[in-house]
């Protein structure tokens, strides 16, 4: 978890639903200003109600710095919306058209060590045929509506009923459900690289080792003289349990290792 979490709770205005959230509590204008000074590079601020927003605006107007992000559980339309956007880099608020997770689920997502891989809210950009999904880090992610394609015999994605559920792990468009994991895998290069890396690290098979070693060496399956690409593919998929010693020798020679050491990669 990279960014500190700052919960703005003016005295007497504590939010019961966020009671379990592990965050720094800010009760006064001086608390807010001190927090900005301490976390000048980046922080996530949570404002659960209108008094919290008023406190934030009073304390931070004209003092904005760094990459500050705000999650407001209170709608912030009109002039206040503009004001908050002038102070914070990203503002996610329960405005008209933005659907946030229920507050108890929000608290879990914000407290998760992988909050950037979960969604806290969603909005539909109808004119642009797109969905804006807000991650637990409050970064927005834009997904074309067309990506939520209908399966044969499955439900249509209904943008008018867009929401996030399952503690940020599912995007719902009416009866249609999409896995957050699938969305991120498709639209976030960094997430996909992390997922791939984990997948490769977990594969302890001989085929997995061969594949890692081949890719480390920047080789294609067609780069092994005397062994067909199809044969390499079959070994990597685990379809050939005991490759022929001649095949192994040829593969090892091309990779610059001893045949018996391939499995160690």
């Amino acid at each position: 978890m990279s960014e500190p979490l700052l919960l703005v709770e003016p005295r007497g205005q504590a939010s019961r639903l966020l009671a379990s959230l592990e965050a720094e509590r800010l009760r006064s204008e001086s608390d807010v200003r001190d927090a900005l000074e301490r976390h000048r590079r980046r922080a996530i601020w949570v404002a659960p109600n209108a008094p919290a927003i008023r406190l934030l605006v009073a304390a931070l107007a004209g003092r904005s710095r760094g990459d500050q992000r705000l999650l407001s559980l209170e709608p912030a339309n009109g002039a206040r919306h503009g004001l908050l956007h002038a102070i914070f880099r990203f503002v996610v608020s329960a405005d008209e058209g933005v659907s946030l997770l229920p507050t108890d689920e929000l608290a879990d997502v914000l407290g998760s060590p992988h909050r950037e891989d979960l969604f806290v809210g969603a909005a539909i950009a109808t004119d642009d045929a797109a969905v804006v999904l807000y991650r637990g880090s409050l970064d927005p992610l834009v997904v074309p509506l067309a990506w939520f394609r209908v399966r044969h015999g499955g439900p249509r994605a209904d943008p008018s009923r867009l929401s996030v559920s399952d503690f940020g792990q599912t995007v719902r468009l009416g009866d249609y459900q999409a896995a957050t994991d699938a969305v991120l895998y498709e639209f976030d290069d960094a997430y996909r690289r992390r997922a791939k890396k984990r997948q490769i690290q977990q594969d302890r098979s001989f085929g997995g080792a061969l594949r890692r070693l081949r890719l480390q060496n920047g080789l294609y399956r067609t780069d092994f003289p005397g062994v067909t690409a199809k044969e390499i593919a079959r070994i990597e998929r685990g379809e050939v349990k005991k490759p022929h010693p001649r095949t192994l020798a040829a593969v090892a020679k091309r990779l610059g290792v001893r045949p018996e050491s391939i499995a160690s990669f």
């Binding site: 439900p155 009866d175 994991d181 699938a182």
Partner: protein, 103 residues
């Protein structure tokens, strides 16, 4: 484990009765990462993908040991309908197919 579909949509199985934990769900959603065919066990902010081909958990994070054994038992006991459901939802990537070359 009881299972229901949301109007021909995602499969949603409720293993609550198996483990007495109301926040546990087993799902196949309309849009999933397709490789390999799987169901997802969801518990609050955590999720484990269970490969319905190899009958193994796909991910080492979160810790697979934290999946309640009763839930895995319930998934395994319902493998045939879960596989059929996957094939119905994703006929382009059926459970019996071989994984494609990924190069």
């Amino acid at each position: 484990m009881t299972a229901r579909r949301t109007r021909a949509g995602a499969l949603h199985a409720d293993p609550t009765r198996a483990v007495g934990e109301p926040r546990l769900e087993v799902k196949i959603r309309d849009r999933e990462r397709l490789e390999p065919p799987h169901v997802t066990i969801l518990h609050r902010t955590r999720a484990w993908r269970f490969d319905v081909r190899s009958e193994k958990l796909l991910d080492m994070e979160p810790d697979p040991n934290e999946v309640p054994g009763e839930v895995l038992d319930a998934v395994c006991a319902n493998l045939a309908p879960l596989r059929a459901e996957w094939d119905r939802m994703f006929p382009e990537n059926p459970v019996v197919s071989r994984e494609p070359d990924d190069e």
